[in-house]
């Protein structure tokens, strides 16, 4: 009998028991899913985006299903970093024995820096994931992640404040994602995650107005998967840091595409809504695939599609 394949993975010095995570904003702070499975079996939990001050989020409606996709305009509703540290993190720490990756967001470079400094050195936090898709209020609302220069500026400011492993989450809403990826790695990113949602909108033809209260929303789900796989393929070949792939994963087959495109880990987002067990099923499906094909470790699959055999 062959040995069970090795699923462990190291990303930016962070040891993961396996490479299946759950994506920011789709898994809350993990508590909601405990009635369905034990999230500790996963490689890690990426929290809802945390900002310096609490945010109420965008006015409803915030969701609109589209063919094979979901538009959301949650608007970063979150309790703020202080309440996160006081009320949410302690529960997560107690409940979960898996990596806790705190996703952060801001409206100015200073806000990102301040949130990072508050999270630095806090026991129980394993890494930061930086959402750079947020609008920069000082630059007319253009997303930080939209240009290499502003993306690098945010990352450098955060790098200054923290020694935690720094994962920078790239936006697909750019002309050249490779250029941004290289810029944030140069600025101090230890790993990259991609992709965040694609900017989109929908119009209600009965009401003759936009469906979402915020007009625009982020598109996620199977509809965006080819875009995400392409981005992982390009970025993983052009930087030396590990890539966490996400976008439309609903099972092991999808996840395996991401590994072969160059991802070292994957995250499940919208797939959690279709079935709360998607992440665990993906994990066991990956293990089965490796066993069946005789791979000793998931690491053998990373970038397989461009490395060749």
């Amino acid at each position: 009998m062959s040995k069970a394949p090795d699923l462990s993975m190291e990303i930016a010095g962070l040891k993961l028991k396996n490479p299946v995570l759950v994506a920011s904003g789709t898994f809350g702070f993990g508590m909601e899913y405990c009635d369905y499975f034990n999230p500790s079996v996963l490689g890690g939990i990426m929290t809802k985006g945390i900002t310096l001050e609490p945010r109420p989020g965008n006015p409803p409606p915030r969701l609109c299903e589209t063919p094979a996709g979901l538009l959301n305009s949650i608007g970063l509703e979150n309790p703020g970093v202080d309440d996160f540290l006081a009320s949410y993190l302690p529960v997560m720490k107690e409940k979960f024995s898996t990596a806790i990756i705190v996703n952060i967001a801001g409206s100015t470079v200073e806000q990102y820096a301040e949130v990072s400094s508050k999270l630095d050195g806090v026991e129980g936090i394993d890494a930061l994931e930086v959402n750079i898709s947020c609008p920069n209020v000082k630059e007319g609302g253009m997303a930080f992640g939209a240009t290499a220069q502003s993306a690098a500026q945010v990352v450098a400011a955060i790098r200054n404040e923290t020694s935690l492993p720094l994962i920078v989450k790239l936006s697909p809403n750019v002309t050249d994602i490779v250029e941004i990826a290289q810029a944030v790695v140069d600025a101090g990113a230890d790993a990259l995650s991609l992709i965040n949602t694609l900017l989109g909108m929908a119009i209600d033809i009965e009401k003759e107005k936009p469906v979402l209260g915020n007009v625009f929303g982020g598109l996620s789900g199977p509809a965006v998967k080819p875009v995400a796989v392409r981005a992982v393929w390009q970025v993983s070949q052009s930087v030396d840091v590990p890539v966490i792939g996400m976008g439309g994963i609903t099972g092991a087959e999808d996840a395996l595409e991401f590994f072969m495109a160059g991802a070292s880990a994957v995250a499940i987002g919208t797939g959690n809504f279709t079935d709360p067990l998607t992440a665990v099923k993906t994990l066991s499906g990956i293990e089965e695939y490796l066993t069946e094909k005789g791979y000793a470790s998931i690491k053998e699959l990373i970038g397989k599609a461009w490395k060749g055999s």
């Binding site: 789709t26 109420p56 006015p59 915030r62 299903e65 959301n72 959690n272 809504f273 279709t274």
Partner: protein
């Protein structure tokens, strides 16, 4: 709460596009409270991608089953209507905060359109607690009130309204409610279309009668994780989640303006 594969025990077409679907799911039945809902996967494929929420219409402990009463309005419910007996459906539940039950009170239960669905389970629970129950049901036409008979055993005062006058009062349930207010009820329960809920809320506030409303919103996770199903709360920029803070809210907790 949990995710279960539930077997279809019966599936009956009631009227032009409304169905009664009975699912075998003792785990949910055991815990279910009136006003709670289940989140159903309407197909085995990824189309549609998301689950669909449905109120628990009734439960049958002996059969270990729960029923939903639903209308076909789009892709998901259309697929659901084609499900046959003995097929399995993936169900999450019971979800959300249900109705707070009263004891020994004079209550009015108001259901409009598909908002009738959660009111049967509620009426049954209220009838166990010595309440004096008035039930007001409204629909476009008499077809929309085919479930009325199941309400009759929980009340001596069942009043019906249809827009076209084909059954009961010609007009709205809100008009029936205005009459019922003369009887000085001490609790109102309502579920139905937004204009109806707004009127019920206005009347409850005017008369100072505590009132519980069951709201709807588009949902993704259904369990409070995605923050997508919000409604407007009272006070500055507070957005309660319909799936986990509701679907039942006290009328004064929510702002129903669009």
């Amino acid at each position: 709460m949990g995710v279960y594969e539930a077997r279809v025990i019966s599936h009956q077409k009631l009227q032009e596009s409304a169905y009664l679907l009975e699912l075998h799911c003792p785990e949910i039945v055991e815990k279910a409270q009136a006003g709670q809902f289940v989140h159903l996967k309407c197909s085995e494929t990824l189309a549609p991608l998301l689950r669909r929420p449905f109120s628990i219409h009734k439960t049958d402990a002996a059969r270990g089953s729960l029923s939903i009463y639903y209308a076909v309005v789009g892709e998901g419910t259309d697929l659901l209507s084609k499900v046959s007996i003995n097929e399995q459906l993936s169900v999450l539940g019971p979800l959300g905060k249900g109705f707070q039950l009263t004891k020994g009170k004079n209550v009015v239960v108001i259901g409009g359109g598909m908002g009738i669905a959660p009111m049967l389970f509620l009426a049954e629970e209220l009838s166990k607690n010595d309440n004096k129950i008035t039930i007001l049901l409204g629909a476009r036409d008499k077809e929309g009130l085919l479930v009325k008979d199941s309400f009759a055993r929980f009340t001596n005062d069942l009043q019906l309204a249809t827009d076209d006058g084909s059954l009961g009062h010609k007009g709205t349930v809100v008009e029936l409610l205005k009459e019922s207010l003369q009887d000085n009820p001490t609790m109102l329960y309502a579920c139905g279309p937004l204009p109806m809920l707004k009127e019920v809320k206005r009347l409850s506030e005017k008369e100072g009668i505590p009132c519980q409303l069951s709201l709807e919103a588009r949902m993704a996770c259904g369990i409070g994780a995605c923050l997508g199903c919000t409604c407007k709360g009272k006070g500055e920029k507070y957005y309660p989640k319909v799936c986990s803070d509701g679907p039942v809210f006290w009328a004064e907790e929510v702002d129903l303006s669009e």
